[in-house]
Amino acid sequence: MDVLVIFIPLFPFIAAIIIGFGYFSSQVMGLRGELSSSDVARNAIYLSSVSAILLLIADLAGENSGSKMVGQWLDSGNFVVNLNFITTGFNVVVAALFSVILVIITVFSKNYVHYEPGFRRFFFVLSLFSSSMFLLILSGNAIGTFIGWELAGLCSYLLISYSYERPVAVINATRVFVTNRIGDTGFILGMALSFYFAGTVDWTSLNGMAETLSTPTVTVISLCFVVAAMAKSAQLPFSPWLARAMEGPTPSSAVFYGSVMIHSGVFLVILLQPIIDKAPFTMGLLVIVGLATAIYSYLVGLTQTDVKSSLCFAITGQLGLMFLECGLGLWELAMWHMCAHAIVRCFQVLTAPSLIKNVNGNPMKPASPFFTNRRWLYIASIQRFWLDPITDRTLVRPVYGLGHDLDRFDKNIIDRAMGDPVSSFTAISSLTQIENEARRKRVDEIQMEFVRGKGIVGKLLEWVANIMSWFEERLVLRGIGMDLVTIGRNLGHAANMFELLLLKPRYLVLFVFIVLMLAASI
């Protein structure tokens, strides 16, 4: 029955292609198009759900061999990447569970986004996401998981900016995507390191080699993957992205952040259980991060007044607990916790909009006196512990500044050196220049009338005077006099700029990085 595993990600992928091409060729327009595209998506996810459940039954019956090799994706020297799937154990359970949840959400969405302008787009992304999620869960090697991981991130980006005409949605989507990319760096590094140390990117063989690898190696590899997991599961210090991600439509919130994608971090940690078990430092980190996130989410959640935000912090809190359980070695508990949480959250998030309607007018429960009496804690909670401003100050602004500086370098030096087609340097740019120009013209006109000599001697004098005046104006006044001042001012300005840039921490940091890289390369 191993062969079923291929179809689980394949069906939604085909559905996504059909919807995408239909949309692209304007075949699925109007109400009929809506119907057809939602039908395609729903039927595809039905089929993969059935396949997943069948696979689970087969696994429980002991029919599965454990893995299914489809073919070779890449073969370069000793770097071999297979297209293989895991067909047993926790992966299959999670696949079956998520497939059911995805079915529910797809059905729910059909009515929820009815008549919305982005209806087809929504179902395209949803199908693509389902496919990538199954790939993430079932892939037998890190590369496949990473492809699913990235595609899921992309889909999340696309759905947060679902209503892309609103600037806030787009900003939030970008922010979430970029935050996730930090985790992706960890994932890529982890893959590279596992290939370097263990010679494989296959999950099964990697886990199998856990015993033979030394503790520091295991620690480094596991740390990289755990950073990726932390980012994906919105653990501290990446937590703020989840609140921003609630920008998308409710079904997408449910599917991405309530029940499915948000758990892929925990899933990855559980997947790497043998490796992480060997690395006490990573376990410690999981405990600390999980605990901190749980406490943070609890405190912040107390002051949230809208349903989506409170759900969002409840989710991170629960995820924090799962990380804590993983760190403490309670893997079984973490698995159960994850599955149960996925189901409960799916229901909660999907019912959130109607909940607002139902509880409308109910008095709000005040925060506990313990909390309100500690004002600093209350403020910190309302401000979500200033995590976003801190990130802005320490990361976003320096990078922005760096980009700004590079842009200026480009404009002022590269463009000028290469010959900028639109030359703004000779054009008049300030009022002072216009005034100077006008004054010079006026003076010149008067001069011409004024210094007209008569007779031979007069003409000679006029001629000599013109030459001398040119000399005076060009060399003595402008050349030595004004240009000296201008050059001095420009030099001073440049020195000031240089000083200012040197004082900015981003260049210090950059400098340190360069030195470290040089040191590493030597």
Partner: protein
């Protein structure tokens, strides 16, 4: 305390008093500043009366060593070259203050700056120690910068910066030269002018050339000498009129005065440079004159005429003979009076009409006859009419130059011709021609303006008609200098 310290102390006391009184009472401030300037002028007059003309050495010598480590001394003294300058400085400060009634903003700091400027100028001419000289030399920059930058015209910012940069740049070369000479001083030799003169003469010949070069740049910027005059047109045009009087009347003379001192110090090197100096002087005279002829801005015209007239001073110095140096010293006084009077009158005219363009004026003689009278005499003096002090100076320079270079002095004649051209044209355009409606309502000179103008014009004419007292004042010192020089270069 000697008379010279008292003279130097007078503007200083004036500054102290002005800083202590409140800034609101304008007339009180004006009165105090004018009184102190008058007292300083009276002191300098007394000095002239008391000065022994037959004796060419330094007189009223005072010394106080303020830096024992280097034997730098607060040494003051006057001789026949510096005494006319001192009188001129105190006189022109008084005139400038009389012309300052149009300044209505920040009056207190304005008067303090002017008195500080007077202190610096007097200090330059009085000091007999190079370190002291340098300190006072640089001291004049600060008030001038403030005066131009705060009360100047539209482009005052550029003008003031430009002026300071130029002068500072020149001063650095001067300082380097002074240090080079001090290498040859005995241990703890001090920086007295007389001692350093001895030291400079003991320097090797090629080093003397470099040292003179440094001095030429340093003093040449201030004088100004032809290629280094870039700051002058802008600064003179943008400075408020009273400051232009001081700038052109005395500040330029500081350069010439320093150059005379240096030439006496390094005669052999000057002999090497003599042809170049002559060329620069003649070319600068024609250059300044032609450019003055080309200016339609009255102040710019006077500024360029200053370049032309200071060329005569350089020419006189370059002759290295008695008549030529006498001409140079006389021209310093003459140009001080003439340029002061010109800027005074042009400034007064500008206050009334707010235009400096000569083309806007016409037929002024009908509304301001007194102004026309003084302006005409001053312009005639500027072109060296006999009967004015300018003529006496020019004739000396021409004779001195003729002794040295012969027929080349034709070019000096040419430059006088050019200056006659622009002077006559200015007289014609200002005072004659069709009556313009906007030039009908101009007030003639007021009483205090008249006083200022009368003092200057009287000096110009009287000293032109009877120049003997002026020449006698300097002749003993110049004779002594000439003896020094001719001994060295023989």
């Amino acid at each position: 305390m000697g008379i010279l310290s008292t003279l130097l102390l007078t503007p200083f006391l004036g500054i102290l008093v002005l800083t202590l009184i409140p800034g609101g009472n304008t007339s009180q401030i004006r009165f105090i500043a004018n009184s102190f300037a008058t007292v300083a002028f009276l002191f300098s007059c007394w000095l002239v009366a008391d000065y022994n003309q037959l004796y060419g050495e330094i007189q009223y010598y005072e010394q106080f060593i303020y830096n024992p480590a280097f034997n730098s001394a607060f040494a003051l003294g006057v001789d026949g070259v510096s005494l006319p300058m001192i009188v001129l400085a105190s006189l022109l400060t008084l005139i400038a203050l009389l012309a300052s009634f149009s300044i209505v903003h920040n009056v207190k700091s304005y008067y303090i700056s002017v008195l500080l400027l007077e202190l610096g100028m007097l200090g330059v001419f009085l000091s007999q120690d190079w370190s002291l000289f340098y300190i006072f030399w640089e001291l004049t920059l600060i008030p001038l910068f403030i005066l131009i930058a705060r009360w100047g015209g539209v482009r005052r910012g550029a003008a003031s910066i430009n002026f300071v940069l130029y002068t500072m740049g020149g001063s650095i070369f001067m300082l380097i030269s002074l240090m080079a000479i001090s290498q040859y001083m005995p241990e703890h030799g001090g920086t007295l002018m007389a001692d350093m003169t001895e030291a400079a003469r003991s320097m090797p010949r090629n080093e003397q050339l470099w040292v003179l070069m440094g001095f030429l740049i340093g003093f040449g910027v201030k004088m100004p000498v032809f290629p280094l005059h870039g700051w002058l047109p802008l600064a003179h045009v943008e400075a408020p009129s009273p400051v232009s009087i001081l700038l052109s009347g005395i500040l330029l003379k500081m350069g010439a005065y320093g150059l005379i001192r240096v030439v006496v110090m390094l005669p052999e090197a000057t002999l090497v440079f003599q042809p170049y100096l002559m060329f620069i002087a003649l070319f600068g005279m024609i250059y300044g004159g032609v450019l003055a002829w080309r200016q339609s801005d009255l102040k710019a015209m006077v500024a360029y005429s200053s370049v032309s007239h200071m060329g005569i001073v350089l020419l006189g110095i370059a002759t290295l003979n008695f008549t030529g140096i006498t001409g140079a010293v006389l021209q310093m006084t003459a140009h001080g009076l003439v340029a002061g009077a010109l800027f005074l009158l042009v400034g007064l005219l500008y206050e009334r009409t707010h235009t400096r363009n000569i083309l806007d004026y016409s037929s002024l003689v009908q509304v301001m006859p007194r102004f026309a009278f003084f302006m005409t005499i001053t312009l005639f003096a500027a072109m060296g009419m006999p009967g004015t002090v300018g003529f006496v100076a020019e004739i000396h320079a021409v004779i001195g130059g003729y002794q040295q270079w012969g027929n080349l002095m034709l070019f000096l004649g040419l430059s006088i011709l050019v200056s006659a051209a622009y002077a006559m044209r200015t007289v014609g355009m200002l005072f004659t021609g069709p009556v313009k409606p906007q030039m009908r309502e101009i007030e003639d000179l007021k009483l205090y303006e008249l006083t200022a103008a009368v003092i200057l014009i009287a000096a110009i004419v009287l000293l032109g008609l009877w120049p003997t007292p002026l020449i006698d004042l300097s002749v003993a010192t110049i004779t002594q200098m000439n003896d020094f020089i001719s001994q060295s270069i023989q």
